[in-house]
């Protein structure tokens, strides 16, 4: 029995997520290049970047906290593998979920951002500290509307905190996105996802033209490679989570495989289009945006869900 979980951990949680994440990262870069009338990088470019970074020297800045500096990327990477394993098991065997795994997933999805904050503060660089403090403010701002949006699915599926029951409820009664409250909550969740992935317009923590990479500025070699891989895997894990809770999960039999691929690719394409058509906002504008309009829309969605719409 334990071997099955190890198999899920290594094959689905790590390998498949990494492959799809690297592919999504390539789609993102290629679409960005096409929007700017460029050719763009070749297909294997994200993989080559990571292999190259693994072969480079790892430098530790003088006076930094060495253990925290080296541990931070590993913690974030481990949590991403764990959360994608949980999501895959729930998606394939909805009956195998445990009570409250939705809450576990929500907590585990914050840990990558926290690992970036830890790494930024540990590296003893003023720009990295600035980026880490911005990341912290960004987490505080987007977590509230994100959790409220996820709460809509909990209300609509009859107050269950099991991902598996949310999935089976949607399989019987249709996806939540077909109702008004589900649509509003999905819009809020997609915009929060943009901030969770630190993409433009919410790339405030790592604004490259402003604070040159933010918390990752001092990372080189394998530390940077793990961070890059973690971000590419998040590019799969977060849309996958939204697909499970709002759009009825991925299925692998016959025509449903095509639908599943379509759901995922349309979410990634939407993120890329938002990324390419918006300028970066300031951190105070981001906090106002998430605590103002986004929270209000999420609360309206919750009220609609309570009314049964």
């Amino acid at each position: 029995m334990i071997y099955i979980y190890i198999f899920y951990f290594l094959f689905f949680g790590f390998l498949l997520t990494a492959i799809i994440g690297l592919l999504a990262s390539w789609i993102d870069r290629k679409v960005t290049a096409k929007v700017q009338y460029r050719v763009g990088p070749p297909l294997l470019q994200p993989l080559i970047d990571i292999v190259k970074l693994l072969g480079k020297e790892t430098l530790i800045p003088a006076g930094s906290s060495k253990i925290t500096f080296l541990m931070a990327p590993v913690i974030g990477f481990a949590s991403v593998i764990l959360v994608s394993t949980l999501l895959w098991i729930n998606n394939i065997y909805p009956a195998k979920s445990f009570i409250g795994d939705l809450i576990v997933v929500l907590y585990l999805l914050v840990i990558p951002s926290i690992s970036i904050i830890m790494g930024g503060f540990a590296s003893r660089n003023p720009l990295a500290s600035l980026g880490a403090s911005r990341e912290m403010k960004l987490i505080l701002s987007y977590e509230l509307p994100f959790i409220l949006a996820i709460l809509v699915t909990v209300i609509k599926s009859g107050f269950t905190f099991r991902l598996g029951e949310i999935l089976t409820f949607q399989a019987q009664n249709g996806a939540f996105v077909r109702s008004w409250s589900g649509t509003l909550a999905l819009i809020v969740a997609i915009i929060c996802m943009q901030a969770k992935l630190a993409l433009v317009p919410f790339d405030i923590p790592e604004a490259e033209t402003e604070i040159v990479g933010g918390p990752l500025i001092e990372y080189s070699g394998s530390g940077l490679a793990i961070y890059k891989l973690m971000k590419n895997m998040l590019l799969f894990t977060l849309p996958f989570f939204l697909i499970i809770v709002f759009i009825g999960g991925l299925r692998f039999d016959g025509i449903h495989l095509l639908y599943g691929g379509l759901k995922y690719i349309s979410l990634v394409a939407l993120m890329t289009v938002i990324r390419n058509t918006n300028p970066r906002v300031r951190i105070d504008q981001a906090v106002k945006f998430f605590w103002g309009p986004m929270t209000i829309i999420a609360i309206i969605a919750i009220i609609l869900a309570l009314l049964g719409r």
Binding site: G40, P41, Q45, I48, K56, L59, Y219
Partner: protein
Amino acid sequence: MIDDMSIKLKALLKSPWVFHLSTGSCNNCDIEILDCLTPRFDIERFGMLLVGSIKHADVLLITGSGNRKSMERLKRLYKQIPKPCLVVAVGECALSRGMFIHSYNCPVPIDKIIPVDVYIPGCPPKPEAIIAGVVKLIEKVKKSTEKKSLV
């Protein structure tokens, strides 16, 4: 047996991330380097990216004549770049100090201070010349990895 170092350099040649350093140039070379990123030339199709932090870089791209103040910074940056790395000098000033060769402030050319792998002449060099220079560098490193004698 395959050399460990040559695998590292082979992956590096397919995604060289460039850090751009100006040691007191007149900004013409810097503008020509930025031109390489535009849709007309688009060096991202070779996997090249311009990075902001020296710790992320594989290639140190130097422009300018190298005066007394910036030489100290150049030495520090060369110590901070993770190895294996490559160094490219762009423009007449970076090669031989150009019109500043008699200046009191530019005592030695850049390649007397750190080892330079490829020189791209011109005042300023065209983007085509810069890309051709980088292609020559890649071929040179490929030959040296085949011989297993490193740069």
